[in-house]
Symmetry: C2
Subunit: 657 residues, 2 copies
């Protein structure tokens, strides 16, 4: 008995509408509309192995229109992944089920990245495409030769990040990237024409893409379009003309099917219309078998790849395997020597420069590190001697000119990290972390090892003024779960924070770095003290009455404030606190020792003070910013905003009396 395309596709439709109906929540329209396209992709072209979801040379499939999550849950189940089980699908959107409202890579193998925030799936796919071409250039066709497939909706294409992502992909000519656009002409509010009259194919062509169209419900036409896309050396947009909610009588083609359950009556009518007679969550065995067979399609390719890996040069194979696993060497060549040199010959440099110095060592030792900047290379100090430019003509390069695309850069780095085999880091001005913030959040949620190099981290940047001076950013980043936010105070702490960032395999790290020069305050490099998050840098000479807590460029100010207090006979510790999250993870005894109850607790940081009460309490003192900065040379600003030892020390003395 032959199973028809329609029967295969209707299995997706049925599971999708039934899953949403059971949850009484979700988005049936997209999975039903794209069921035909997905069926052709998974049964004919996608290279994947449900028995080994992490096979490094698999194609990556990204559901950028993440609200259509039932589509991928249905596909993973039908093609034979261990999860989701049918019970998982029955529990769609319930606590404990891996079938979350939007696809989450940390819940299910086979979900390559977490999507839902629109546009970012496609932008992460661009990063996966960069990683694929780079690893191909390094390890060759035998080991790395796969595609990135994306399903994207009108929302993904309307978001600003779409422009940044496709600009980067077009510039780098990522021919392995194929975007299947669900062109159903419907958004949540109604027709796309309510808010856009753009000629999307023309825009993609203007950005260096190949564009092909198809009838998204005709499997022959879909296959033709996919084959044209695969044959073209450019990244491809496949315009799939579809009907949202295809198959749901009276509702298909309208926004009514976008984001709500169809209702029991329409579900029944849809069953009739589709000729689907099975009860909810049941798939006829013949159809199920055909889907399982589709899941075996790449098994032979996988075995052949295993053979090629074994036949590879042993060191190459070991390197490849270790890089894909994300392992670091037990010790990083040259790093201890670099620290020893700092101990011997202290350096006064901006921490952005200190970052470059650390990176010189790290990028020389770790070929998996791929750097870049959003058009601020000379300011972010992200390009080292080891890094040549990664371009369409040389994918082996390790430095990406991301262009003026902070969000696109960050999302691409997420994709690179999730692809595996590379460790991305990228720079911009810290104030523009706002532009990148939605991607930083996805780094954190997905626990992707992405390292953000955020320079010019306070009013210390000076003349560029308040539009360019981060004030609230440090605090707003500290409150983001899973993100390690570091603000080192000198060249030694910067090196230590870089080491911690690389070791942080399960999440993103962000380095807040100064524009201005800072003296080296640490000479003992025997222990990575930043790993504790905060530590006593200076111990009070007189009886301790004050503990000054500072970060980054204000640690020097705290040290000088302590001197001024000691000159008045007031003992003051200085605590450097490069990372709140690391400090919070220390034992209570350590935390109480560093921040004792019996001293006046004082924070000094050139950022918004709100939040510091976590450590200084309701009765402590907080020196910092309460509003936006101003345009002037940095020393003038520190004086203007009262962030000098001369202005701080008297206030502390007054508070003690």
């Amino acid at each position: 008995m032959t199973i028809s395309h329609n029967e295969l596709a209707n299995a997706i439709r049925a599971l999708s509408m039934d899953g949403v109906q059971a949850a009484n929540s979700g988005h049936p329209g997209m999975p039903m509309g794209m069921a035909d396209v997905a069926t052709v992709l998974f049964t004919r072209y996608l290279k994947f192995d449900p028995a080994d979801p992490k096979w490094p040379d698999r194609d990556r499939f990204v559901l950028s229109a993440g609200h259509g999550s039932m589509l991928i849950y249905a596909l993973l189940n039908l093609t034979g992944y261990a999860r989701p089980t049918m019970d998982d699908i029955r529990n769609f959107r319930q606590l404990g089920s891996p079938c979350a409202g939007h696809p989450e890579n940390f819940e299910l193998a086979g979900v390559e990245c977490t999507t839902g925030p629109l546009g970012q799936g496609l932008a992460m796919a661009v990063g996966m495409g960069v990683a694929e071409r780079h690893l191909n250039a390094v390890f060759g066709d035998d080991l790395v030769d796969h595609r990135i497939w994306v399903i994207a909706g009108d929302g993904c294409l309307m978001e600003g990040i779409n422009h940044e992502a496709i600009g980067l992909a077009g510039h780098l000519n990522l021919g392995r990237l194929i975007v299947l656009w669900d062109d159903n002409k419907i958004t949540i509010d109604g027709a796309v024409s309510l808010s856009s009259n753009e000629d999307i194919p023309a825009r993609y062509r203007a950005t260096g893409w190949h564009v092909v169209s198809c009838d998204g419900h005709d499997p022959v036409d879909i296959a033709r379009a996919m084959e044209e896309a695969m044959a073209d050396p450019r990244p491809s947009l496949v315009q799939c003309h579809t009907v949202i909610g295809k198959g749901a009588p009276g509702k298909e083609g309208t926004s009514a099917v976008h984001g709500a359950a169809l209702g029991a009556a329409t579900v029944s009518e849809t069953r009739v219309a589709l000729g689907w007679t099975s009860p909810a969550f049941e798939i006829p065995e013949a159809i199920a078998a055909e889907w399982r067979a589709a899941g075996q399609r790449s098994a032979e390719a996988h075995r052949a790849w295993d053979v090629r890996l074994k036949a590879s040069d042993a060191k190459v194979a070991a390197d490849f395997t270790s890089r894909m696993a994300g392992d670091l060497p037990a010790s990083i060549e040259g790093f201890d020597a670099y620290l020893a040199d700092l101990q011997a010959s202290p350096k006064t440099v901006a921490t952005r420069k200190a970052s470059e110095m650390a990176l010189e060592v790290l990028t020389a030792a770790l070929p998996e590190m791929i750097g870049g900047s959003a058009d601020l290379t000379g300011s972010n100090n992200t390009k080292t001697k080891s890094l040549s430019v990664l371009s369409r003509d040389d994918y082996a390069g390790r430095y990406v000119n991301y262009g003026i695309r902070e969000f696109g850069m960050s999302a691409a780095m997420n994709g690179m990290a999730l692809h595996g085999g590379v460790i991305p880091f990228g720079g911009t001005f810290m104030v523009f972390s706002d532009y990148a913030r939605p991607a930083i959040r996805l780094s954190a949620l997905q626990r992707a090892r992405v390292i953000y190099v955020m320079t010019h981290d306070s009013i210390g940047l000076g003349e560029d003024g308040p539009t360019h001076q981060p004030v609230e950013h440090l605090m707003s980043l500290r409150v983001m779960p899973n993100l390690s936010t570091f603000r080192p105070c000198d060249v030694v702490e910067t090196a230590e924070c870089w080491a911690l960032s690389l070791e942080n395999q399960d999440g993103p790290s962000l380095l807040a770095l100064s524009r201005q020069n800072l003296p080296q305050l640490r000479t003992d490099v025997s222990e990575n003290l930043c790993a504790k998050g905060a530590y006593r840098l200076v111990t009070a000479q007189a009886a301790r009455k004050v503990v000054l807590i500072a970060t980054g460029s204000e640690v020097e100010i705290a040290v000088n404030t302590a001197k001024a207090l000691e000159a008045q006979g007031v003992g003051a510790d200085v605590v450097s606190m490069p990372s709140w999250s690391h400090f919070d993870a220390q034992p209570e005894s350590y935390r109480n020792d560093v921040l004792p109850d019996d001293a006046l607790l004082v924070s000094i940081e050139a950022g918004i003070t709100m939040g510091w009460e976590r450590y200084t309490g309701r009765k402590g003192l907080n020196f910092g910013m309460t509003g936006f900065g101003a345009s002037a040379p940095a020393p003038d600003l520190y004086d203007h905003f009262g962030l000098t030892p001369e202005k701080i020390a008297p206030q502390i003395l007054a508070a003690l009396n």
Copy 2:
């Protein structure tokens, strides 16, 4: 004696390079490269009156490439604005000078908006274009008939927001918007071709724009292109082929002139090359006179406009004047009656629904309110009966379908607010405040009256899961200066917060609103208690040992927790705290009364707890989130994350023992 175009343009070049040289900081390349285009615009086409910079019918000039700030400082000085004086320019980028590193509308009349964060100037100009067409539709050609001119660089065009902004402008066919693109092929890192190979004119055409090119150094050709742009009914992109740093020997046309002073030697050589013999900051009187004459060009048009305003219907003229001044009526029709109705008949509704109910009254009373949503109209509850759609066919409408463009919407709202005459409000899911964040920051910095309607404000949104559940957002918004962040707990507080948002003429407001229903906790509506930021909602019955502080949907939980504590004989106040910033502005005595030292201070909020120590101290208790949420029905999530009276009350009792 006739003054040549070149002499006029070279006055800009000289002031720009001299200002940057004196500061030894800044960006000479753009002003020197665009001096010819700006000269043609200001001497021939721009409608403006330096003697009355706020004349409502002036053209708006937006320097989206804000780093080229010396261009506008030179233009304002030369054309006769009161500020900047030549001394101001001498003190470019110094404390106290209005000539900040990037143009700031709050420093100088004639600067229409604060720019520097790339792409946002152009996007704000789109909003100004919306306001212009809307007010034209309402008040007619006699009172409102002007253009929006933008100078944008490659950075503005590469940023993602460019896509959103031009998509909206193309969709609304804002023919009064003309973007002068400084096509100099250079970015900070070098050639644009390092990071982009996009056909920008083709992309603009694909989005419904008219595109025309010119030689950006040939005044005749520039004028031709501007006239073609003005004649075309579509928004226009004028591609100006320019040489960055035009006139600087050996440096022009390279990234070396982008962001650093030319150096004394090159400044001298440039003087020679330009034939500019005057010392720094001196303009030959004949050239200065010609520039001043250019500043008088629209004086007659201004007088004619004054006449038309006086000839207008008295009520129309009064309405127009009052709206442009941003005045609100002394009392808003129907609002007190609405509150009285709530007092009489309490309502249990989601605060997003409560927001819609308040908006029904407000939008009926205030024709200046223009609403919208980023494609979540039915979820954000932003469209009321009074609002019809603003479209290219009906600019009189008051509801904008912004499309899936959160950032573009927010930047456009900034432009609308800064244009004046309208009060914009717009909605999206609160988690996507991240997408809009760079524009929210500019609302705050510019103190623009924009009202952000952020619904689905916690894990209470339920099944959509962690990608859609704001967790860190409330706190990250509270730390932004000048932004009033409100989180009302019921239908009454929502109305009060709306009133406060409208009254907040000097800054943006943001309403965090629930998806889920909430009981009405307030029945006494005699005073707007939200104006105090926090207040005692429930007074302890037994001797007070605990103060529970909560916001939004968790106030109900706090009330029930208090009941559980009282049942154990433990007295507990409940404080509702809809606005931290309003509470912080209260007298110390009030704050100490609400949050006394002698009670255990406990916060309950379904967001990240970090930051609440500001009010609860180091020894208080903080109930909330410490990580991301999960996908499940809301009640399951509240239980899972321990945010129920049953789980909270025992921990408080334990802490008291």
